[in-house]
Structure formats: C-alpha cells, structure tokens
C-alpha cells in the first residue's frame, strides 16, 4: 500500500476514533486477549510482517515477508500462542508493551476504507531472562468502517531490521 500524493487525510474526529481503536487493539494484544483481538479483523483479513533485505548497486531495498497469513493461517497462529499446552514460545507468555505512535489516516476511494499508518515499538521480555528485545516498524492497515465500528482488513508491518536479533518472532505486531 502506498500513499498517493494528495491523499485526503481524515478529519480530526475520525482520526481520534482511529487512534482510540489502535490503542484498544494494542491493549488487547498486551493483555493477550487474542480471541477479542480476532474480532477486530475482517473475515478475509491478510496479515503480513516483513523484514528488510539491504541491497546495493542502485537497487531499492527489498522486503522479505516473514509472516504472510490469510485468515485461516492467522487463526492457527493465534490459537497456538493462546493455548499453553500447544506453545513453548509463548508459554510462559512474553511480557509485552506495544507503543503505537505516529498515526496518520487517509481516505481511500471507497469512503468506508481508511488507510491507517502507524509506527509500532513493541518491547518484550520472556520469563526470568534479564534482557528485553524490541521490534520497531511501520504499519499500514486497511481499516474498514461499518457504522461506528472499525475492522482491520489488511495489516502490513515493515520491521526496521534485516536480521531478527532475538530468535524467531512469535508475537503479533
């Protein structure tokens, strides 16, 4: 997803509502209320997380998907981390704190579609290990409005890393 030049930013009231929506979403994830979080997504949601491949020679950096899930795959991923007996990576669960910031929102051609950009910084610790790790990235969400309800139809997270420095990613971002 890219922002067209001249894209119309949403008006202030809608912006605040979207901000609240993203904060609420982050709270659900930090509290590990994963089933509630799934209700914030459309039935055909696509969820993608990418890392960078740094290229040289005048070629733009390429992104490499590390997650590229449709709704069924995403549900399985969520169910695994939400079920203690089925997960080692998230049992005991990570402690997380998601900071959502730098939010911008733009109308799309369809007036009920909003492109919401945000920066995410997620801090995570595990168990008794006295070290924390960070995931920082830029999110592009396609948010669909239905009345006063919002749902995420498409999430794309571009992490600001080319090498994950703390093992495999088990968190939702």
């Amino acid at each position: 997803m890219s922002i067209e030049p001249g894209a119309r930013t949403v008006e202030t009231l809608l912006y605040i509502e979207l901000q609240r929506f993203l904060y609420r979403e982050a709270k659900l994830l930090d509290r590990r209320h994963y089933q509630d979080w799934l209700t914030l997504l459309t039935d055909d949601v696509s969820y993608r997380v990418r890392i960078r491949s740094i290229r040289d020679g005048g070629v733009a950096d390429t992104d490499i998907a590390v997650v590229d899930d449709g709704p069924a795959e995403l549900r399985k991923r969520v169910e695994q981390i939400n079920t203690p007996r089925l997960s080692r990576a998230e049992n005991p669960p990570s402690l997380t704190r998601r900071l959502v910031t730098n939010i911008e929102a733009f109308y799309q051609d369809n007036p009920d579609d909003i492109l919401v950009e945000s920066s995410i910084l997620t801090f995570r610790t595990r168990g008794n290990v006295p070290e924390g790790s960070f995931y920082a990235g830029k999110r592009h969400d396609l948010v669909k409005r239905s009345g006063d309800q919002f749902k995420i139809a498409r999430r794309d997270v571009r992490l600001d890393q080319s090498v994950l420095f703390d093992g495999a990613l088990s968190l939702l971002l």
Binding site: R55, V59, F165, A168, S170
Partner: protein, 430 residues
C-alpha cells in the same frame, strides 16, 4: 584441542560433552578445524542469476562477496579492502559491475583483481599490484545449483564430498529439468544457542516432534489427519554417510484416505525425470525428509497443503559458542506455476522461518537449553545420546539405499553419527 582430559564424544557411553555446545574455545577450534577446511555453503545459483548480481555471505566465518566474475565463473572474495580493511559491500546483496571501496576508492574487478588504488602515481616502483587483490576462496563448486566454497586449495571435489548422500539430496534440488529455485531472499535471525543444536535437530530428531511441536501438529488439519508420526511405518529410517551427512525419512502410514498419498503436485510429478526411478520412488508417500550436509547446511521437505510441498534449506552460521545466525530459504520447482510458488512460499514461511510456528518453539527450547547449560556445574554433565547406542552397530546395508541405514527412524543414531564425524575432525592434528 588442548583439553586432553575431556571426552568430547563418548561413542561407547552414548554421551557428548555439554561444553561442546557452550565453550568459545571449542568454537575457535571449530572455525579452524572444520569451517576453514571443509566445503561451506555460499548460496544457490538462482540468487545470483544476472550479470553483476552478488550476495554477501560467510565462509569460515569470513564475510565474502559471492558473484560471477568477468568470465562468468562464480567466485567468493573477501569482503575487506586490502588497503585498510573496509567492507566493499555493506549490504546483503546487490548488483555491481566492479567493487569500489568507499573509503579510499581502491577498485577491484568482481574476480577480486585490483584495478587501481586511485593513487597509483604514489606507489613505489616495482610494487606488484597483482598481489594486492581481494583474497579469493581457491575452490568454488556447484552441486545441483548449491554453490559451495572452500578456503583450502587441496580439498577433494565437492561431488566427492557430497558423495553417496547425493542420492537423498538431489531430489530436493533438481528433480525436474529446470531444477529448483529460491523463492525469496533468505530469512535471517540470531539465536542464542550453538550451531550444532540446529544441525543435529535436522539430521534426525524425531523424538522432539510431538512434544515441541504439539501446537502446529494439533492445529494443522493436514498434519492432524496423519497423527502418529509414522516412524513405525515400515520404510521410515535414518541415514548416515562417511562424510558426516545424514537424514531422516518418514513415510505415511498405510490406511489413510487415498488422497493423502498424493503428496507431491500432480502436475509436476510427470516432470520428475532428472532423478533415478529409485529416487522417484523415494518421494512417493514421503511425509517428511530432514537432513544435514556436514557441517551446517540442513534441509527439510514438508507438506504445506494438499499436494503442496515446501523445500526449505537453512544454514546454521556459528557466531560464538552460544550463538548462531540462521539463514533460511524456501525452494520450489522452476516449472511450477506462480500460484503454486506463491502458496508454497506463504505456507512454507508460516511453518519454518523467522516467524515460523515450528521455528518459534524450537528457538525457545534451544535457547533455554543453552542458558541452563552455560555454567560450571551443568558443564560437568554430558548430554545424553543414549537411544543411539543399541543401534549404532546395527546399520543395514541396503542396495536400494546408499550409506548406513538405520531403523527405526526415532532413535538418536543419526545425531551420534554426526557428532562422531565432528569429533574426528576436531581431534585431527593441524
């Protein structure tokens, strides 16, 4: 190694010293005795297809640029300027006609030959610039598209090194006329554990699958329908070869719904013409193959959907005694449709990769083992490989299957064989 009292691999007791998986001293000796002397994986041919394409990888822990030189031969040159050491490339990949050092402008051909220092007029008379090119791995060879390099000139051929293991490896590299291709640049992640933990897991750790991976096995309908890892199935077995390579093949149990046995894509199967009939038979009803090419290149072929197979290669790069960097690639047949490749890539990375549902649980347990082992008390207690012992002397010689064949598939034989080869190289005199 200097520590003569330590028994690193005790084949009679079935144990391996914990320190082999922790000590930085061991790591240093490994770099010298294994990684600087063995064939090391660099990249796949399809990662550097166009003229000037390069990738930056490690060989013997030295960073190298892998590219095709002016003549079209694949080379691996040290990514460090001969002047004052700066990296020629600070990227992971790219395309370049020449390498120009960003520090003082020393310029090299892709072959590593020094073209100019840009201050040639100040060089002393008689300085032979041909001695100041980028150091180059003297040997670079390809096996069915996998490019390997070696810093030793006098090593045997790559083909001899792969040896009889090629029977098991080649169907996952080149079973169709156009062979396999890499579907995306590799995932890269660091894990706080020794590289051998990954190499051993992929050579044959059937015992961890139902415990560690209860999540995806329970949740994935394709896998759940075939519950029971079929290690007891008649033709599931492990393999070890003399060079230290090994693998585990597990087959579907009988009595499943008929469509379960269509494991490979029906439209691609007729193209499996570049492997022997026996290798085509090997693919039939294959549930999973996992293997490791000694020392640190592993692969797995796994079902990701009905008649959809992902071939995944990965390299466990040693960083220290307790850290590795993992690179992971997804492959598919070049002849496959773009829809098939798209599905295989998405599902392949869902399972195995930097955010894989299998991967995340392996990483958690491997780092836990490292954390708990990295202290003087734990270091005294060797790791158990006991379930290899009753079988180590019971290798079958089967004319259909090269190498030493071991049944059943759920013992630790392939792992102990790997450590035995490791030990041979580590004990060898310099």
């Amino acid at each position: 190694m200097k520590d003569r009292d330590t028994v690193w691999v005790d084949e009679k007791a079935g144990t391996v010293s914990r320190r082999a998986f922790i000590d930085d001293d061991v790591h240093r000796v490994e770099i010298d005795k294994i990684f600087l002397r063995s064939w090391g994986f660099l990249c796949h041919e399809t990662e550097i297809e166009n003229a000037g394409d390069f990738v930056v990888r490690r060989l013997g822990n030295a960073e190298v640029i892998v590219t095709r030189d002016e003549k079209g031969d694949i080379v691996a040159v040290l990514n460090s300027c001969r002047h004052r050491g700066a990296q020629l490339c600070r990227s992971a990949s790219g395309n370049s006609r020449r390498f120009v050092c960003p520090y003082h402008g020393w310029t090299y051909e892709r072959s590593g030959k020094l073209i100019t220092t840009t201050f040639d007029q100040h060089l002393p008379a008689g300085l032979d610039l041909s001695q100041w090119g980028l150091p180059r791995a003297p040997r670079v060879e390809s096996h069915k598209g996998l490019i390997f390099g070696c810093w030793r000139e006098d090593v045997g051929s790559l083909s001899d090194y792969i040896g009889e293991f090629s029977w098991y490896l080649d169907p996952f590299l080149a079973r169709t006329p156009s062979g396999m291709e890499v579907l995306a640049p590799p995932h890269r992640w660091r894990t706080r554990c020794n590289w051998k933990v990954g190499a051993l897991n992929f050579v044959g750790d059937a015992q961890h699958v139902l415990t560690t991976h209860s999540g995806p096995l329970t949740l994935d309908p394709v896998r759940a329908a075939r519950a029971g890892f079929a290690t007891a199935a008649e033709n599931s077995f492990q393999v070890a070869t003399d060079q230290g390579h090994g693998c585990t093949l597990t087959y579907l149990a009988p009595g499943l719904p008929q469509d379960a046995y269509q494991t490979h894509p029906a439209d691609l199967e007729p193209l499996y013409t570049t492997v022997a009939p026996g290798q085509r038979d090997m693919l039939k009803n294959l549930r999973v193959i996992v293997g490791t090419i000694f020392p640190n290149l592993s692969f797995i072929e796994t079902q990701v959907g009905p008649a959809q197979k992902a071939v995944i290669f990965r390299q466990w790069t040693p960083i220290s005694g307790t850290e590795m960097e993992v690179l992971s690639w997804v492959f598919a047949e070049r002849e496959a449709s773009s829809d098939y490749k798209d599905a295989v890539l998405k599902k392949g990375i869902h399972n195995f990769g930097a955010a894989g549902v299998f991967e995340q649980d392996d990483v958690e347990l491997w780092t836990s083992a490292t954390r708990a082992s990295d202290n003087p008390i734990a270091a005294q207690y060797p790791y158990s490989f006991h379930t290899a012992l009753p079988y180590m002397q019971a290798a079958e010689q089967d004319s259909n299957w090269p190498g030493r064949v071991y049944r059943p598939a759920d013992t630790e034989v392939a792992q102990l064989e790997f450590m035995r080869q490791w030990n041979r190289l580590m004990q060898a005199e310099a």
